[in-house]
């Protein structure tokens, strides 16, 4: 998987994405080779809840000619040089006139920041502070060959049918130009996770994959699907910032009291070397939409090092040098295990709930009894049957018995096979 991940990363890297436009469509086309997203175009001007889909932005080139005629801040060299969603402009101006349109980071003098202006007509360039300091007085030629016209916003979704209409929602976002952790790690993990989950036979749940521009794209998606989402989604995740090695960070759903929160913490407690579970606060990603009071879905976000917590965030330094393809694969596997936990977490009731089941006559117990011969299977079997009262979910039983839920897999199979339990 690692080679495939890296190849697709390299293909996606140079494209200048935004919340609309051909860069976005071109990126979807590459990702469709792994996960065949169904694309939807939402026309400019469409009202989506409190928002409106903006005009479509496309850009061909952008640069500045300095007083010596040297081309600087060239969009072709790094697409972060232009403020995303800049209006078209061709103009000559003094350094003094230019400066209000220049963005840089004084405390990170060698790197280019990532700046956007989606909802207010504006233009600008981003550059390193070192380059900024080198600018001299004189006349500058500014060229931004962009267009802002009626068009549409593109989003993709994809359904993997399961036995139940109940859904697990898996989302990421696609709208950032050339940056690695935030954002390519998200769409890559989402798409390769699709490829793996597509292999599961007898899926219990239906899986919904949503890839859309951050904020406005997911608001548009929710506007058009909120009834089915509210009816069916039992658990969901926003997949973002999953390209670092190191600990997992789980951001809980709004109130942190949903099954998705309990099961993710359970999973991490028993599986992750190090992890942190933290409450929902804003300053996040699309869980802000999925968990908003009127939508209120059980959606969390399992990340590695989150947005804003690494120095390269939203700059030109968030590039291939800092992304770990091992981490991407490990994260795909973590999400696979996590949905296994969710699939396994059902509530069973014993067919004969009075006293213990006689395991011996069913071949589930050593008939020569010596306590030293206990094994995990038998111990898990006894625990499960002791707690299996039709009220406690398997997750609750796992927590009560301090046993990893997936370690009950064989126990559940054996109990079903011997008709000892049934679903409530």
């Amino acid at each position: 998987m690692i080679k495939d991940l890296e190849q697709l990363f390299d293909d996606l890297w140079p494209i200048c994405r935004s919340i609309t436009g051909d860069g976005l469509r071109q990126s979807f086309k590459l990702l469709q080779e792994v996960a065949p997203y169904r694309l939807t175009e939402v026309p400019s001007g469409t009202k989506v809840f409190d928002w409106e889909v903006p005009r479509e932005w496309n850009i061909h080139q952008a640069y500045i000619l300095d007083p010596e005629g040297k081309r600087i801040c060239d969009f072709k060299v790094n697409n972060l040089h232009v403020v995303n969603y800049s209006c078209p402009i061709t103009c000559e101006m003094s350094l003094e006139q230019l400066i209000p349109h220049l963005h840089y980071l004084e405390n990170q003098p060698e790197i280019i920041p990532y700046i956007t202006s989606y909802y207010q007509d504006n233009w600008g360039f981003c550059l390193s502070h070192n380059q900024f300091k080198s600018l001299r007085e004189g006349l500058y030629q500014v060229v931004i060959a962009s267009s802002l016209e009626k068009g549409s916003l593109t989003y993709g979704d994809l359904i993997l049918k399961g036995a139940s209409e109940q859904e697990i929602l898996l989302t990421s976002y696609l709208c950032h130009p050339s940056m690695a952790i935030n954002e390519l790690s998200g769409p890559l993990v989402l798409s390769f996770l699709y490829r793996e989950l597509n292999k599961i036979k007898n899926r219990k749940f239906t899986y919904r994959f949503v890839l859309a521009p951050e904020t406005i794209g997911h608001i548009a998606y929710i506007d058009q699907h909120h009834q089915i989402l509210k009816k069916n989604v039992v658990a969901g995740y926003v997949i973002t910032c999953v390209g670092h090695d190191g600990k997992f960070v789980y951001k809980k759903s709004r109130l942190g009291d949903k099954t998705v929160d309990q099961i993710t913490e359970h999973y991490l407690k028993f599986s992750a070397k190090t992890f942190e579970a933290r409450p929902f606060t804003t300053g996040g990603s699309d869980e802000r939409q999925y968990c908003s009071p009127g939508i209120d879905l059980p959606v969390g976000s399992l990340m590695r090092t989150p947005y804003k917590e690494y120095a390269e965030y939203h700059t030109s330094a968030d590039n291939k040098a800092i992304i770990s393809f091992d981490a991407l694969q490990e994260t795909v596997e973590a999400y696979q295990d996590l949905v296994k936990c969710i699939e396994l977490n059902q509530t069973y009731i014993r067919t004969n709930p009075h006293c213990e089941v006689q395991l011996g006559k069913r071949g589930l117990y050593d008939n020569i009894g010596a306590w030293t011969k206990r094994n995990d299977f038998r111990s898990n079997l006894l625990n499960f049957l002791a707690f299996c009262d039709g009220n406690l979910s398997l997750l609750e039983i796992s927590e009560l018995s301090q046993t990893f839920i997936l370690d009950y897999t064989a126990v559940i199979e054996a109990c079903l096979e011997h008709d000892l339990i049934k679903l409530t």
Copy 2:
């Protein structure tokens, strides 16, 4: 305020108060200059729940002449010398006969204890252990020029009307002779708190101030007002022992599960340098009445160093030397902030609860987006709107977001102004 506090303290200091009598009335008269309490007289013999208002006690003088004719234990020198509520007596007796009527503290040999005998006819003197040890055999003349006659008990109350009939109850007690922390600190803070709250425009709640003799006075007050108290009081405090610098101590309401408890702990957590919140137990003050099972009001007590936890408690050493007028003012301000928190704590619902509100088009968001430019207002605004679901109170949102409730003041104003929220 500090000068006014000290002046009133000095005026109140020499008066010999008790649970009835002219010393009590005289003290009320001085306090009425700051807070115009409405006085009520409850006749001796009136049944108030399980109790009965006792005869009225007044005292003119009290002293002992020792065998050499020297006047000792003179009430005019220190009104603690006489057991409060002593019957009148003029009598000659031996030291042996006198001793059962003398009270002192062996482990604090230089100070006079404070002793009462409200409900059993008795008389006595209090003196330092050193003075006690100096007494010689011989005949002693005992004079207590007091009266115990049908009269009345005096209490005061005061209403500050607000928009709602719902009330915040603020109480203290007045019945101790010359002692500073316990008790003058309480009536002083209560009265100056009235003066400050009277300045608030657009009070949401009605404020009820009750000043009465401890125990019997508040029992009489509750007997005569319990229906309106139970109907209207949403939060209340017993103000006592607020004259020390140092930490705040909050004693919770009976079960510690009321909003007044949560909001006071929240306030202290975010505002106080050091504080302690402790459960309700008896051995307290008038919260014993307000929180009794049949009354059960949401009343706590925000103190500084509480009764019984400082060495000078209920002795002549509880005097001006140990009271801090800075602490009194600081406590008035703390109570002012606390009621601000209670006033602000409402439950709102978003008018458009689906996904995020677009703040930019309302001028509530920088339109050039760079995460480094975040500010507290925007962060608090986003947090508030994310949690504002019509179920969570502002206090609960403040706790979930670990933000001081008063820091949401501007956010609430902005949201109301832009019609983003309404009260539930």
Copy 3:
């Protein structure tokens, strides 16, 4: 009591008990001298929930003659030498044929393990690893003079009537051959506890004592009594492994949320030098039956060092050398106190719940008030009356006031005597 305990221990020690048979009946007969259990015989083949009562097992002798004709593994020397429930056999065989029927503990080479085979026809001998290693090639004579025939399983129960039909259930098990901590400590404590509780006058609850073979015996008992048990039992304990000095260990009921759990933890917190309260997990004793989902009684288990947590468990080393008769007596006393707590834990309501009761006029308060003279009775009385609201049980009041429930005994008596409270 200690001498009686030791005498009965010595009498019971040599008997070879099992889950059925005359050894079991003979043990009951000895125990009946302390607690007159009513015995019930359940015929072989009786279905009891998922189980069936097995054939009755009796044994006269069992031994092996080694190639030199020396008698080894002689049942008369130690009844652990024969696998409990071994089929009869008289046979000559090689060492190689014999070995699969021999049981020993490699890591405890000097002691004999305890092995059973109740539900599968089998036979075997248990011996020390040292003895096993000394066996030489040659012909061995195996003799087990046992019988496995239709008969019955014996259990005992005993009722101590109280004012209420509600019951406290006290159980232990009887089925192990010569072992001290597990099991003789259990039946001994149960029986002497009966002798003590029989002395209580005015018992509030009815007490049910059940002594039966572990697992199958209690399953049979529950099968025949589950309706009355489910109707009446308000608290119960499985008494086992109570022969060590040192800390008490309380194993909670299945979900750990019953009154029996709260009261036992409260009792231990205030009374035990050291203790541990732990969650229900399987790998226990008959609480596995009483707490099974379909029975779900509030039954815990107060032990000393539990099964499997001491090296001698289920071996010949679990003998008189390691049992403490002081610990047995101390455990009887602990259970006595515990049922006192349960008896005392009622919910009262004040007859006059408004404000404080005037204690002085009832002689319950020093009328000369000086806070330094407070005493525990008065402090407990004030606390109790402050919390006594008709909703909180005495246990809850004890926890809120951090006072041992039995310390409220005199307070409850005084309040009842003065008509200050009544039962809800």
